[in-house]
Symmetry: C2
Amino acid sequence: MTIQKQIVITGAGLVGSLLAIMLSKRGFKVSVYERRPDMRKERMSAGRSINLALSDRGWKAIRRVGIEEEIRKVAIPMYGRMIHDIKGDTAFYNYGEKDQAIYSVSRGGLNCVLMDLAEKHGAEIFFNERVEDIDLKNAVLTTENTSTKAKTLIQAERIFGADGGFAASRLQLQLKTDRFNYSQSYLDAGYKELTIPAADAGGFRMEKNALHIWPRGQYMLIALPNMDGSFTCTLFFPFEGVPSFASLDTKEKMLRFFNDTFPDAVSLMPDLATLYFENPTSSLVTVRCFPWAFKDKLLLIGDAAHAIVPFFGQGMNCGFEDCTVLDDLMNEEKDWNRIFSKFEHSRKPDADAIAELAVQNFIEMRDLVSKPEFILRKKIESRFHSRYPEKWLPLYSMVTFSEKSYAEALKEGKRQDCVMEKVMSIPGIETKWDSEEVEKIMLEGAERM
Amino acid sequence: MTIQKQIVITGAGLVGSLLAIMLSKRGFKVSVYERRPDMRKERMSAGRSINLALSDRGWKAIRRVGIEEEIRKVAIPMYGRMIHDIKGDTAFYNYGEKDQAIYSVSRGGLNCVLMDLAEKHGAEIFFNERVEDIDLKNAVLTTENTSTKAKTLIQAERIFGADGGFAASRLQLQLKTDRFNYSQSYLDAGYKELTIPAADAGGFRMEKNALHIWPRGQYMLIALPNMDGSFTCTLFFPFEGVPSFASLDTKEKMLRFFNDTFPDAVSLMPDLATLYFENPTSSLVTVRCFPWAFKDKLLLIGDAAHAIVPFFGQGMNCGFEDCTVLDDLMNEEKDWNRIFSKFEHSRKPDADAIAELAVQNFIEMRDLVSKPEFILRKKIESRFHSRYPEKWLPLYSMVTFSEKSYAEALKEGKRQDCVMEKVMSIPGIETKWDSEEVEKIMLEGAERM
């Protein structure tokens, strides 16, 4: 049993580790308590998602802690979407400008780099320590060691709850404080990870620099490249109904379905049947809550404050932006009550906005991306953007390649929808999409934004 | 430590006790575990709300267990709303037909009658037993005695979670099952109970057979009569802002505000200052979740499944209707998986509907009831209803004096809103509200419903 004054972070995941670096660099004594073992010592998957898409908001935080160069070396740029149709034919669509990309990085690899750096700056990380209780008023944390069952009481100056979507720290706010607004809301679809192994020589068996999508209406398969030449595939699929995880309950049914639906992917997945039946089926949750702070004692951050579904590739990026925003606030303010209060009030609208955008983007990815009307709309927006870059930035770019707040991006995206609805309803738009008539309507629309 | 097969109910509140009667009458061995002491032995308030408004759905369940006559004797009919304006002038508006009323009953008194009857039918109630854990798969409950700290393991055949808005049983579903959708959402307003004592001779110091309302826009005071001649008053008031619980922080400020705002009520409340500062300020929450059942092992019922705000006076009535619906299903079905599944699927839309209606009714009660346009609308609806009772039942009556499902009532209420919007926008409606023109529009509107 140790009693010592310090900043405590619950969770040594991506956000917890990054925050530990930022706080340590400011001279705070930081202790991180992580429920899982040290992934640098034990072979384990860090959660179920093996790679993640890093984009501008994430890079900004990474740059700030000085590891951009190191991460660039292990990040694979994906310049656009590669859409696979049911016959196996493909089409490629850029995400933004020619040189703009989102980057496939290994979640575990990035986490290890961040933990190493946190320790280098003086933070201590304690593994196998499960948060059992928090005395909120006094900022006293009780943990239980998952192996020895030993309890530790930690007197903190303040606590950052960075323990993810099912945060024990957040549960303390739910159970012990009045008027804590909270919701956890699940999609009817879940996901399962599958693998396309590397080619024999270690090469990639599909285009390396793309995010691959097999959009099929109510569901989809996606694939992101890994440094070793493999792709991590994720099937997003309904839990119930036909077809669904429930309905594909034999090897025969499953293989028939995959062969009919994702023929070109099946040919690249020799272990499909084994992986499909051995890998877990995971659920997709959006968590919203408020307040995030308890006085100047506890602040939720990252997924603990706002877990979102993965379809905009913004979970980690949003959590990293949380850290950047908090870091900026620590420059502006010295009073922790004010820092926590400003943080939660400024970030809450953005967290709500990206949560909404992420759910919306499931429909875009699984269905719309293969529709000619959608593709034409993107082409029109892209043309207009390149002619009037200051008047129109497509929603995907606002979220992914800009620092515009998520809340503003959502609002502007809705205004763009109105303009584009008008444009797309022009008779014969297919032939006059690059006409002056269209440009005029968009200019007028953009003026009113 | 006892191990015995039986039906377990968590919570001996209104719904838990009523359900214990219904199940015991069917021959089940029923054990009820209640966190609080036996209110029949110890002097205590059963929760913070001292009286409740019983209406038709509640009476139906009470009739079914054979205690209607007993409860009628201690229930005070309230035939309508008595609106108190800022000068202290009053106006009375019937809730429905002349003989229709909602009934003020003592929450504690009713609960005691229900517990007595449950025990008479063979149910056992264990007090001071806090639910600590539920092994959902095996329906094993662990309780801790709040005095002795002794733990008890109870092997149940199945468990009914009737432990209210902050149910420990529901928390087990949140913590231990995947894809449990859950939200707890608070209003910005809270409430505080105050008292108007009986007159010296034991009489009532205001009209006995009315629900009194002092509507003031963003907040209100209400009063319900008690059998001893007193009224229980409740101030519904914002937590923050001006005026609010936070802003009225001295006796002087509070009294000045009350004297300005509720002058006629103040004159009847000799203990106002003491009660205002001694009584707790409570929050107002809506809880939604789904599923309510875990296989055939656990079923949430009443507030544990759907806590609502009190503004439609339907919390208890809805919980009692849950019991009636479950009782009917036990006649139809023998398989408990089917009973639980049918229950949750049939009741969920109704629970969501009454939750929405209850929040809406706060605005009606605190603000609209004093507006001439609202009063005129009610008069028009009432006239049309009396001429064409089969074509139009006002929303309040559908919810309070009918067996129509809450979901249907909500839907029909919205359709009525559309018709009435048209009616109320007729120029000069104040003078021709009982004209043929108005009746024609309403007949047409009613036809399309």
